[in-house]
């Protein structure tokens, strides 16, 4: 069975698993739940996989450590995808540290073939050594395709599910947990010994002046750039097969470690007393690629200056960037536009919470603070919307707003969170606000999908991981159920109502929730009647451009709507922003 919560670049794992019959699959409410579900299945003797992006393991860290203590019955594999370079993440973290931290082995493929072949090993190792296995990928493994041979009829080892009681193993009260710790230490020693002869670790001896130790995608870059060097490809990056490393080091003149992000291997090798060149060559920050590796290798004298013309010489002009945008017809746009306006123009009362006078123009012009969460709506931080003030990690917005309020910040504060994110980790914070008598306003942008990661179902959608109908959790009922009395459900395209509701809710002394509901146009793909600009009635105030819609643009001194991109009167945000009524629906 398999459980996951979406997150780039790990999302496709579940999307593809869901196409196999005979495996139970689910989108779980968050990564912690996904891992706990997988743990339960493993306890029941069934092979189980959980998949998530790197930050997902922060959420799932608690069960991850717990699973390391209890061990498994059926194989338990956690596939975790790091995102060096932060193509689509809020931070850059090297999850190999988690393996060492939790005393769990890592397997790291270097291409699609290995990703495929290693999975069977991962489950086998998990069962043989009674441990969860961290299967680490990165963006360039996950979003990469290389030729892979698939076994004719993959052999599936299925055991009948059965839970055998064993409190010493499964009930981690201190007296049971204490004897498990020495077992974990022993386990890691045994794994290190086992990895000495792991057949997928590969030594290639050629020119002995440089010996490169590398893993993951970096290994392929190193093969590309160092054509003649000797190599040790490490699939088992934790625990380290020390004898293998020493043997390789003794056969080459200079050991070079090529690894992305942190000096994880380098530090271990140095602690073993092996002198290596590591971060001196490969930057600690960002995603590695063959070009950086080559440049750096030349810079520190590992490679000769090639006769190549300076390939990296810049030939580009300063071309305008193309950042991602809220799409035409996005149900988040109107709320973002409303927040932008309220944020800049709303005048806060001059008295702050403690009743002290704190006049001054600046104070007056601060307006509403909008703490935000992670999802498509975070794109409203970019111009021209500039609507949001914070974004940290999933679920943080509600707690942050509550903290700002309790700290005594005088502004009105709203938190902005998506439907999937609210269910992932917003609910507990809302309960906190209710219990601790906050007065925060939570705006739940409900586009009925997890849009950012490519439209996965979540409990609020009533659509399962297989795309089938499932029980729907009704978000407004949930909010009422935890004790919020002021719950509003409004239409995502009705600008005046959105503005009025926010204005009203921020003035009340109790917690309030505004569910702003409207379907994601990329999922629903329906258009309304087309909108047109009547230029003769337009006074060229260009307010319509400030809604940040890609379908409306300026053509010299005119404004035009691209009929191919525009979703028509399904949205009509520009129409509502136009004070001369120059944008209208084309009838007929």
């Amino acid at each position: 069975m398999a459980a996951a919560y979406p997150g780039t670049p790990s999302t496709e794992i579940m999307e593809n698993l869901a196409r196999f019959p005979g495996i139970y699959v689910e989108w779980s409410t968050n990564e912690k739940v996904a891992l706990e579900v997988a743990m339960g299945a493993s306890y029941g003797g069934v092979r189980a996989l959980a998949a998530m992006k790197h930050v997902g393991l922060n959420v799932a860290a608690d069960p991850f450590f717990a699973a390391s203590v209890t061990g498994v019955r059926g194989g338990l594999v956690l596939v975790c995808c790091d995102d060096p370079g932060m193509h689509s993440s809020q931070n850059e973290q090297d999850n190999r540290h988690y393996a060492r931290f939790a005393k769990v082995p890592i397997l790291e493929p270097t291409d699609s073939q290995e990703a495929y072949s290693l999975m069977e090993w991962a489950f086998g190792i998990s069962e043989e050594f009674d441990t969860p296995v961290l299967f680490r990928s990165t963006t360039r493994i996950s979003h990469c395709k290389t030729v892979a041979e698939i076994a004719e009829s993959p052999e599936i080892k299925r055991r009948p599910p059965k839970f055998v009681r064993d409190p010493h193993k499964f009930v981690m009260v201190p007296s049971n947990a204490r004897p498990r710790h020495p077992l974990m230490e022993e386990r890691i020693q045994k794994l290190a010994a086992y990895f000495e002869a792991f057949p997928l670790n590969e030594m290639i001896l050629r020119d002995r002046s440089i010996g490169i130790i590398s893993a993951g995608a970096s290994y392929q870059y190193a093969r590309e750039v160092f054509r003649n060097a000797s190599f040790l490809k490490l699939i088992t990056t934790y625990p380290i097969p020390e004898n293998l490393i020493r043997e390789f080091a003794s056969k080459v003149e200079r050991v070079v470690v090529v690894e992305e992000l942190d000096p994880f291997l380098e530090d271990i090798f140095k602690a073993m007393g092996i002198g290596v060149t590591g971060k001196q060559l490969v930057p600690i920050i960002g995603e590695l690629n063959p070009e950086i590796l080559e440049e750096r290798a030349i810079a520190i004298g590992l490679l000769p200056h090639a006769g190549r013309p300076p390939a990296t010489q810049r030939v580009e002009h300063d071309f305008p960037p193309r950042p991602p945008l809220l799409c035409p017809g996005c149900p988040h746009a109107a709320t973002s536009y409303a927040l932008k306006r309220l944020g800049f123009y709303h005048v806060v009362p001059q008295d702050d919470m403690s009743g002290q006078k704190r006049g001054g123009i600046q104070q007056q012009r601060q307006g509403i603070i909008a703490t935000s969460d992670i999802g498509c709506y975070t794109l409203a931080v970019y111009p021209p919307l500039l609507a949001l003030d914070t974004c940290a990690c999933m679920g943080a917005s509600i707690g942050q707003a509550h903290g700002l309020e309790k700290a005594g910040v005088a502004n009105r504060i709203v938190s902005v969170i998506g439907d999937s994110t609210f269910i992932h980790s917003g609910i507990t914070s809302l309960v906190d606000v209710v219990y601790n008598e906050g007065r925060g306003t939570v705006i739940i942008l409900d586009n009925n999908t997890t849009a950012m990661t490519g439209h996965q179902g979540h409990p609020g959608t009533g659509i399962s991981a297989r795309g089938e109908r499932a029980r729907r959790v009704v978000i407004e009922d949930l909010c009422r159920g935890v004790g919020v009395r002021d719950v509003n459900v409004i239409d995502a395209f009705d600008l005046p109502v959105i503005e009025a509701t926010i204005r009203r809710c921020v003035e009340t002394d109790e917690p309030s929730v505004i569910v702003v509901r409207g379907d994601c146009p990329l999922r629903v793909r329906e258009k309304g009647k087309p909108l047109v600009v009547h230029l003769e009635e337009c006074d060229r105030c260009f307010n319509c451009l400030r809604v940040g819609c890609p379908a409306i643009s300026r053509d010299d001194d005119d404004v035009k709507i691209d009929p191919l991109l525009c979703m028509g009167d399904r949205c009509s945000l520009c129409l509502q922003a136009c004070h001369c009524q120059a944008i209208r629906v084309r009838e007929g």
Binding site: K145, T146, V147, E224, P321, L522, S553
Partner: protein
């Protein structure tokens, strides 16, 4: 067997990834080792998309080094120009002659490069530059979505893979009701390339 490194770039929604997936599979079937790597980031939201596709006897890195690409396939003018530095000296640039101005241009904060500027940028790498009216032809064929297949058709004239392989792949990949228009787009792309190759003098 020759090696070919292709960089394909465009805007989210233009079918860049689909095109590179198809080409990758065609190349695998033709006996090449193939690796491809997509940067889609948040491409669904109209951002830049780029796909690296490498084929040869044995390929290690799934990413092309700047200055190494044999082909640059731009689905849009600005995106074609943006990745010009990846092209090797005298590589082939094929650019769909379409402008999709990003929001910074729409808002007046920056300027969309002129055809001249795009061409000048590419010229610093190569003289083999083909601007293709791909979107126009696709619209003429009645379906703007076939732009990617049309560009593959154009490119196919430069690769050592026989025409039949492409047609076979399309026939398996494309739903029956769109097959005809896709095959037409592929053929029109090829025609256009053959015609342009003949009439070049540089």
């Amino acid at each position: 067997m020759i090696k070919a490194d292709l960089l394909m770039a465009g805007v989210g929604g233009q079918g860049v990834i689909l095109a590179s997936d198809a080409l990758a599979e065609i190349a695998v079937k033709a006996g090449y080792d193939v690796k491809k790597s997509d940067s889609l980031g948040m491409s669904q939201r109209g951002g830049s998309v780029v796909s690296h596709l490498r084929m040869g006897e044995q390929v290690f890195s799934p990413m092309i080094k700047r200055g190494d690409a044999d082909f640059l396939l731009g689905f849009e003018r600005l995106e074609g120009a943006r990745w010009a530095a990846y092209l090797r000296r005298d590589g082939v640039a094929i650019v769909n002659n379409l402008a999709i101005p990003p929001l910074s241009v729409v808002g007046g904060a920056s300027k969309y490069p002129s055809v001249g500027e795009v061409e000048e940028t590419l010229r610093r790498r190569t003289n083999q530059i083909y601007f293709v009216p791909g979107t126009e032809i696709a619209a003429e064929l009645g379906n703007p979505q076939v732009l990617n297949v049309l560009l593959i058709g154009f490119l196919s004239v430069f690769l050592e893979i026989d025409e039949g392989s492409y047609v076979d792949d399309l026939s398996q990949r494309v739903p029956q009701k769109f097959l005809q228009v896709n095959l037409k787009a592929f053929a029109r792309g090829r025609e256009e390339a053959l015609h342009r190759k003949e009439t070049r003098h540089d």
